[in-house]
Symmetry: C2
Subunit: 318 residues, 2 copies
């Protein structure tokens, strides 16, 4: 079971796929309609919206538009580092503090750059302190991009409400996780008009496909369906966190659709593999080794819980 | 009617769209299967194939992979210039000769660079002399990318047969025109392993969507259907060229799915607009002003012919 890429366990609804078939595949689709729909959904001016071929393209456009070194947390989404390497750009990462919170002090020592903050954090699954993030946005000498790919699972407000206050702030959102569209590729940037214009100038004219662009309408028309799926995943997540805590394992307070659990005995990874449950391992040095595993459907989640319980009486193994 | 972007007038077949619905939208799709299918179709090693998010992405990856100035013909596909500007790269264009053929002598005066040759040529619709192209590939001090987006309409062989001979050669192909997939975005590069590896290193990991990647299988399984559509378009093209020639207008020998016709009197453009037939205008300086218009369905093609005939007795107006 694919639990290593934080995908939504539910496929895009078939009845909506069928509606989207009506879109013509033989013609180039423009972004304008999708921009307008997102603007209405986000209650934000259309001049401040840029759709992209996944959040990935938005991240890449930010790097293309601002010729500065790239900064991110460690650990964080691997794309920040990988994409900066594609552009032969300098890359700096600042380790999260001992509470897995963002290290505002060390970040603010950096002179100029593009700072990417995944919040909720990937792979650590937690939310960073709002006070620290705002302090960074206010004082950082450069662009701050808050990547809210997992925000729908956090039940928290987007930082877009601070866009009026900070002219160096960009919000990144994605349809890949909460709206089951990883394979179709759709994400967007929200920022002020000046920044959005800079990003759009760097975008290839037809980087978005017509399926992605037509899906926007159908998702917003059926938003309750998608939000209910998100709630179902959140409910499963809370059940899993509470069950895993009972085993004595160290697990972070996830506000995403995945769990980040400390590994004490690597033999448990073999058992996950035996059950064909895919995951990713992260070595955080002093903090230890962790496994990141997505919330799946109930049956797979129960398998994970069963494996963790098997180790319970022998101490903290995972 | 959209006749300004060289789109295929026939939508992707509905029964194939329905099959492609089976692809999961919620998961990230890998490129491997598509690479293998293209390798079989092209009878070329899989290590020499790279699928991209449209031919556009392939063009952009070539520019990212080779940090050289960009060279193209004038006129040529606008992407070569536009994408070089995105990367703040120097751009040089060499005017086609008086026969609308490639100017090998002036191109070979350029020291180093990435040369993009659209063959058949966009917007001029003709094929360049093979002798001149091969002389350029052999002697050009840099990368030569032959963009064969329109090759299926030319009934000519691909230049891929020369890949073994020239290590600086890249072939670019597209599903947008001949296979009705403009909106879905699928193209690919064919070259030697070293170049393909360089390009892939510059590619974002999930730039291709799962619809594009799954379509490959269904297109190749139904290749006759798509080839018959191409033949139908070629037949329409030949009919239109022969009819337009009768009016005394200057039209290039198109080997694409569009026509390139000299404008003598701009009033004819108003008539095309009145009939809602979309087109693009190209100002070639000394050579004059030209209209580029796609081959559409019979009804639209007949409208174009009707308009050109209306001007026949008054001389060469178009």
């Amino acid at each position: 079971m694919r639990l290593h890429l934080n995908e939504n366990p539910y496929d895009f609804p078939y009845f909506l796929k069928r509606k989207i078939l009506k879109a013509k595949w033989n013609i180039y689709e423009e972004k304008d309609k999708a921009k307008k729909l997102i603007s209405e959904y986000e209650k934000f001016p259309v001049s401040g919206i840029l759709p992209g071929n996944g959040a990935d393209e938005i991240i890449f456009l930010i790097m293309l538009a601002f010729n500065k070194k790239v900064v991110s947390n460690f650990p964080s989404f691997s794309g920040y580092k990988n994409f900066s390497q594609i552009l032969d750009r300098d890359f700096i990462e600042i380790e999260l503090d001992e509470n897995f919170d963002i290290d505002d002090k060390n970040i603010l020592k950096i002179k100029d750059g593009i700072l990417f903050i995944a919040n909720p954090s990937n792979p650590t699954s937690n939310l960073f302190s709002e006070e620290k993030i705002l302090k960074i946005v206010e004082k950082f000498n450069g662009i701050v991009a808050i990547d809210e790919t997992y925000i729908d699972f956090s039940e928290k407000d987007s930082y877009k409400k601070f866009l009026n206050r900070y002219k160096n702030l960009i919000i990144i959102k994605s349809f890949s996780k909460s709206f089951s569209l990883a394979g179709i590729r759709f994400g967007y940037a929200i920022s002020n008009r000046e920044i959005i214009e800079k990003l759009e100038k760097k975008q290839l004219p037809y980087s978005l496909n017509s399926i992605a662009l037509s899906s926007v309408k159908y998702i917003f028309e059926n938003i309750d369906l998608f939000k209910n799926r998100v709630l179902k995943i959140i409910k499963e997540r809370e059940r899993m966190i509470s069950e895993i805590k009972k085993t004595g394992l160290f697990i972070l307070p996830s506000k995403t659709n995945f769990l980040f659990i400390k590994i004490k005995n690597r033999s448990i990874l073999k058992e996950l593999k035996k059950e064909k449950l895919m995951f990713k391992i992260f070595d955080l040095g002093k903090k230890g080794e962790f496994v990141r595993i997505s919330i799946g459907k109930k049956r797979d989640n129960n398998k994970i819980l069963e494996i963790t319980r098997r180790y319970q009486n022998e101490g903290s193994y995972f």
